[in-house]
């Protein structure tokens, strides 16, 4: 079991009060708070061990390079990559998906082929593919979800049946519904029809141990700031032979092996995809975040969050007039809801006055909102530090808000 008091003590911000009330932070799916070791690692880097990397011959550069490259090793271990060179650092998940849409979409896929996404994608896994569609003649197909908020696997397979789908790019966990998608099945079906698979793991990796090889994935991405790390650093993992075949996305320093005015030669992966000075301090922070999560352990994290989610579904389900969106069998600690008679923004404002932070709006998933028949929802999302008491505070306050508006 997780030692909640000890974990909470590691997150300095949780000691803050909002208008005299303790902060109840239920917006971790938007961005998670940072534990002290992450903060300390980044401060330590800036105070004691900082220079540009991969180029200096001096002590500081060598040491900083080493610290930064340890982050790559930490990520490779975290997701069980076969090879550390398969880990490409990006700015965030959006950066990873755009990289793939350029380097795989434009570099490897041919006009006339198709990309499949699902109805429950974040805008970051929709818009890059629309741009690819419009600029490169790639068809974009949308896999529907069921009313329960699960991927409709039969409809999904039907979309692949003509063999024209080159790539499936799909969320591993919905940032709105909390639904996990059946990653292994998606990979089996996709591969049977000749398509590669990319998962947006921005939410999933926060809650579950990810083994990209066991999933059978071809690409996987996530962002550091949702995994208790800093903003400005994300990861694209891809199978090495796929990455080797892909042309670079951005050109510049660090991604070449030689340059003349006639031509340049690309560096090997991952550097081929990492033009320019990277987010060095953020990489060091990400490693500290991964170390932290690994030390707590995914078994403990998953058990804690499953208990929290069950508790929240039960408590929120008892609030009169409250509707939880989606009822997937396999779901995690992200819960969207509406409250009859109160708009999500009014709900969020009133919760905020009690120190309770939730998100309200379309959650960067407008097509999903339309599919669910709502304009916006309120969303509570949980992290490693969330307590059952905080969920009780949410449910109790929602009861009061319901009374307030009726």
């Amino acid at each position: 079991m997780i030692d909640l008091a000890r974990i909470r003590a590691d997150f300095p911000i949780l000691g803050e009060t909002i208008r005299g009330k303790p902060l109840v932070f239920l917006d971790s799916a938007a961005s998670a708070q940072k534990p002290r070791p992450v903060i300390a690692a980044m401060v330590h880097a800036m105070e004691h061990q900082y220079a540009n990397i991969h180029r200096g011959l001096h002590w500081m550069s060598e040491r900083t390079t080493e610290a930064y490259e340890q982050a790559r090793d930490a990520v490779a271990t975290l997701i069980n990559a076969n090879d550390r060179h398969e880990i490409i650092f990006t700015g965030n998940s959006t950066g990873a998906i755009n990289l793939l849409a350029h380097s795989y979409g434009r570099g490897i896929m041919k006009p006339g082929q198709a990309v499949v996404i699902s109805e429950m994608e974040h805008h970051s896994n929709i818009v890059p593919w629309q741009m690819l569609r419009d600029q490169h003649g790639i068809e974009l197909r949308i896999a529907p979800i069921t009313d329960a908020g699960e991927l409709d696997l039969n409809a999904f397979e039907a979309l692949l049946s003509d063999g024209r789908v080159g790539l499936v790019s799909i969320t591993h966990m919905s940032n709105v519904l909390g639904t996990y998608t059946p990653a292994e099945r998606i990979c089996q079906i996709s591969h049977a029809h000749g398509a590669k698979v990319m998962f947006d793991g921005s939410q999933a990796i926060v809650h579950r141990r990810i083994d990209v090889q066991a999933l059978g994935a071809d690409f996987y991405c996530f962002t550091g700031h949702k995994l208790y790390g800093p903003t400005g650093i994300g990861v694209l993992w891809g199978k090495r032979e796929l990455l080797n075949a892909m042309p670079p996305f951005m050109g510049g320093g660090d991604m070449i092996s030689s340059v003349s005015f006639e031509a340049s030669k690309w560096a090997e992966v991952p550097h081929k995809f990492e033009a320019g000075t990277p987010a060095i301090i953020e990489g060091i922070g990400l490693k500290a975040a991964i170390d932290y999560v690994q030390a707590v352990g995914y078994d403990a994290i998953a058990a804690h969050e499953a208990a929290l989610t069950d508790h929240a579904l039960a408590r929120l389900g008892n609030v009169e007039g409250l509707t939880i969106l989606g009822r997937a069998q396999d779901r995690g600690g992200v819960i969207s809801f509406t409250l009859a008679g109160a708009h999500p923004h009014d709900v969020a404002t009133l919760l905020d006055r009690q120190g309770i932070a939730v998100r309200a709006g379309h959650h960067c998933a407008e097509p999903l909102m339309r599919r669910l028949g709502v304009d916006s929802t309120a969303r509570a999302s949980f992290g490693i530090y969330t307590t059952p008491g905080e969920i009780d505070a949410l449910a109790d306050t929602l009861e009061k808000i319901r009374e307030f508006f009726t």
Partner: protein, 155 residues
């Protein structure tokens, strides 16, 4: 529990939110426009009928959104009745100042119907809710056909 928010969610706001007085589409109108704040999901459509003298004879709206945006639209209908387009623009300018800063320098009689929204300035994230219907109304008077928004930095 919510005493601290009674300034924003006052009696008028709660009553009008439950039962808006002027929410209806006009069948006969001279101008119309839509306002859309996609980030929050607030939507409003406004219709205006002008009198022969050019002043606003009637305003109607349909809104789907939060309490603040709906009530702001409802109060706006009353506030702009009988105003010329130029006076309506001036009124919006004063109203915007009131909801952004709380200060209403020339808090003329014209702003009185909008007083229930005077606490909006204390809720920074809600200013755009209050101004959305006004943006739509001004767009209608300007003959703007594209949907307007009060999101993205400018309220």
């Amino acid at each position: 529990m919510f005493d601290g928010v009674r300034d924003l969610y006052n009696k008028t706001i709660l009553e009008r939110g439950r039962k808006p007085l002027h929410m209806r589409a006009l069948a006969d109108y001279d101008a119309t426009a839509k306002g859309d704040n996609p980030m929050c999901g607030d939507r409003v459509e406004v219709w205006v009928k002008l009198a022969e003298s050019g002043v606003i004879a009637e305003t109607g709206y349909k809104a789907r959104g939060c309490e603040i945006s709906v009530v702001s639209a409802d109060l706006m209908v009353e506030a702009v009745a009988g105003h010329s387009p130029a006076a309506t623009r001036a009124l919006f300018s004063s109203f915007r100042q009131m909801v952004e800063t709380g200060i209403c320098a020339d808090c003329a009689k014209a702003l009185q119907p909008l007083q229930p929204l005077s606490a909006v300035h204390k809720y920074k994230s809600r200013i755009k809710c209050a101004t959305l219907p006004w943006h739509a109304l001004i767009a209608a008077l300007d003959g703007t056909t594209a949907s307007v928004s009060s999101e993205g930095g400018s309220t």
